[in-house]
């Protein structure tokens, strides 16, 4: 796919919308950064390759009253679907340019692969090879080795919702069962092991709220109860209890809503597997309500509805 | 009719024992009498079933354990089936028989003798040997001619084996008897 096609599409819709959100070059060779296009002359700054990791759909709720065009990958498109389910955007105000995607890079993994050397240049081949030039060496890596985990089990390489699709749709070649393999595997551990694990990882949290700020579904933003006294769910003390509580607030608020874009983990400076708990709940939502977030715009998020007779919820015995 | 001094004769331990051994709660009984009404043996009992239940409630151990009623019960389960309070009355009667045996208070010697003959046969042969049981009963009870009128009929219709059929595992059955005896000694 050539970037030109993308640019043509953007040029075309720029007549209908106030702004189009895409990607452009970042401050160095490995970073892309969001680009807000409001005039035709900015279109040429657009780029599209495996560095375009950001979930640009996240900007939509805050631009709810504007007409916005947005460029989305398959995974990002689930955010839009979820917004529609929850009424957080008006579909008619959004123009969606879909880009089929077979994986992006994880910056953390890339840096690790080159031993945290400074990267001078990076190029991508169609066969999935990534050529990295560092101060010390030139290395060819396989994209899947440095892709975020979500790409390795990606079920939706082609956007689920779009107005314009650039390029040919891609079908997922990843087995469905693979998506939650890690979750199921982790759950097999003993209660003590699991608790110890979470105690360890949550203890790292510095409560910078980067995960929350990056999360497309954390629409409360300034009203987040993690920083409020009315209601006062948690204090500002830096204890494990409060950190634990913060992450469970995040988890419970995302129950049945998390589209697994992974922005939270990408944003976390402490390498906390922030997405894992939400994915565990998604696994349960699938089992309980046959619900997958961000897939069908007509679905209802399971926590905001009910069935009088819940087929899958059996009354529990004590103990 | 004699006065029962409830202060002196109520055996609270007995009430608890029956409760524990039967797993039934006799205090649930509100004396509707349905058990007595349905009991096929009421006519032969010295105390009708509902009174046996009442005697338990009032802790009259001696009276119950020496009664004929508990031995004349055939465990037909009518009382249990119809009890509105869901008390397994027949099971309580079973427990009372066990207690009476244990305390050597069996009043209906003939029935006990018959049961003993029955069990002896099992201990010996592994299965019931009908003729042997009958003869053994007649000898032990002293009723030498019980059912002798039936003999010719049974014979004429070839309904009975004269020789006991001893099973191969009869000693295994006998072992159940022995182990049970041992367990009694062990647990007192």
């Amino acid at each position: 796919m050539s970037v030109d096609k993308l640019k043509d599409a953007v040029k075309q819709i720029l007549n209908e919308v106030d702004i189009v959100i895409g990607y452009t070059e970042g401050f160095d060779k490995v970073h892309a950064t969001p680009l807000f296009i409001n005039t035709q002359d900015k279109v040429d700054q657009l780029i599209w390759d495996q560095r375009c990791v950001h979930n640009l759909a996240s900007y939509l709720p805050s631009l709810k009253r504007k007409k916005v065009g947005v460029i989305v990958k398959g995974c990002d498109s689930r955010t839009i679907v979820q917004y529609i389910q929850e009424g957080l955007i008006n579909r008619e105000n959004v123009k969606i340019i879909g880009l089929p995607c077979s994986g992006v890079i994880s910056l953390k993994k890339l840096l690790k692969a080159v031993d945290f050397a400074n990267i001078d240049d990076i190029t991508f081949e169609d066969n999935g090879n990534v050529n990295v030039k560092t101060e010390k060496e030139t290395k060819t890596l396989s994209l899947m080795d440095i892709a975020p985990d979500k790409c390795k089990t990606c079920q939706y390489p082609t956007p689920l919702i779009y107005d314009i699709l650039i390029g040919d749709p891609i079908k997922s070649d990843k087995p469905k069962e693979s998506v939650y393999e890690d979750i199921i595997e982790f759950d097999k551990k003993s209660l003590e092991e699991k608790l110890a694990y979470w105690q360890k990882v949550f203890d790292r949290c510095i409560r910078c709220y980067a995960c929350r700020n990056a999360c497309p579904m954390c629409v409360c933003q300034d009203s987040c109860i993690a920083e409020s006294r009315e209601p006062h769910w948690i204090s500002q003390r830096a204890t494990l209890t409060e950190k634990f509580m913060f992450h469970l607030i995040h988890t419970v608020h995302l129950a049945g809503r998390c589209v697994e874009c992974g922005e939270c983990e990408r944003a976390c400076p402490m390498g906390i597997p922030v997405n894992t708990l939400k994915r565990k709940i998604n696994l349960e939502m699938k089992e309980l309500f046959d619900y997958v977030p961000g897939v069908n715009p007509d679905d209802k998020p399971p926590m905001y509805t009910f069935n009088v007779d819940e087929l899958k919820i059996k009354e529990h015995k004590i103990g | 009719m004699k006065t029962i001094n409830l202060t002196e004769s109520t055996d609270w331990n007995f009430i608890e024992e029956v409760k524990k051994e039967s797993g039934q709660d006799p205090s649930l009984c509100y004396q509707c009498g349905n058990c007595t009404a349905g009991c096929p043996y009421s006519n032969f009992f010295d105390y009708p079933v509902s009174q046996v239940m009442r005697l338990i409630q009032t802790g009259q151990k001696e009276t119950i354990l020496t009664s004929k009623a508990i031995w004349l019960c055939a465990t037909c389960e009518t009382c249990t089936t119809r009890c509105p309070c869901e008390i397994d009355v027949a099971h309580i009667m079973d427990v009372l028989r066990i207690m009476a045996r244990r305390e050597n208070k069996v009043s209906e010697k003939d029935i006990k003798t018959f049961y003993d003959s029955f069990l002896d046969s099992i201990k010996k042969f592994g299965r019931l040997y009908e003729v042997g049981t009958l003869i053994s009963y007649n000898l032990r009870s002293g009723h030498l001619f019980t059912d002798s009128d039936l003999g010719p009929k049974v014979l004429a219709h070839n309904k009975i084996h004269f020789l006991p059929k001893k099973i191969r595992g009869s000693e295994k059955v006998a072992k159940i008897f022995e182990r049970y005896q041992e367990s009694l000694k062990k647990h007192g």
């Binding site: 979750i183 982790f186 759950d187 209660l191 003590e192 092991e193 699991k194 608790l195 110890a196 694990y197 979470w198 105690q199 769910w233 204890t239 494990l240 209890t241 634990f244 509580m245 469970l248 607030i249 988890t251 419970v252 129950a255 049945g256 708990l277 565990k280 709940i281 349960e284 939502m285 309980l288 309500f289 399971p302 926590m303 009910f306 069935n307 009088v308 819940e310 919820i313 009354e315 529990h316 004590i318 103990g319 | -």
Partner: protein, 141 residues
């Protein structure tokens, strides 16, 4: 009082005002004896029980949390317990993943007339928590 410190577990109950709180009252009026570990917080409806209250209680040192509402279809607010059922079920399934025994959290339905049932729930749940022993999620005193 000192003798009780280790004998009692910390158990929090969130009970809806109309059914379960009434059921607990009925049990009381009927003098149905119960273990003394449970402390009850009255809420209007089980639908008011944010799963985060349960989390908060467990993190703050509760050893067990019990939520009880009206039976499904019999909610005083018609649908509140239907929401509660989904949310609390979600939490119940999440807890073991966090390393918390799911038995420490139970949600159930007890009506205002079910004093005996309430007694049984309290007895059984308290027994389970005693078996599981104290919970210390964050190793903080």
């Amino acid at each position: 009082m000192s003798g009780l410190e280790n004998k009692e577990m910390k158990i929090v109950g969130f009970l809806c005002n109309w059914c379960s709180y009434g059921g607990a009252d009925t049990a009381g009026v009927s003098r149905f004896k119960q273990p003394t570990d449970l402390r009850i917080i009255r809420v209007p409806c089980s639908g008011r029980v944010n799963p985060l209250f349960v989390v908060k209680a467990l993190l703050n040192g509760a050893d067990g949390v019990l939520v009880s509402g009206c039976h499904p279809r019999d909610c005083h607010y018609s649908d509140g317990n239907f929401y509660a059922r989904r949310r609390l079920e979600m939490l119940k399934r999440l807890l073991p993943f966090l390393g918390i025994d799911h038995r420490r959290f139970h949600y159930t339905w007890v009506s205002a007339s079910e004093g005996a049932r309430w007694q049984q729930v309290v007895k059984d749940f308290t027994e389970v928590i005693h078996k599981l022993g104290p919970l210390n999620l964050t190793r903080e005193a």
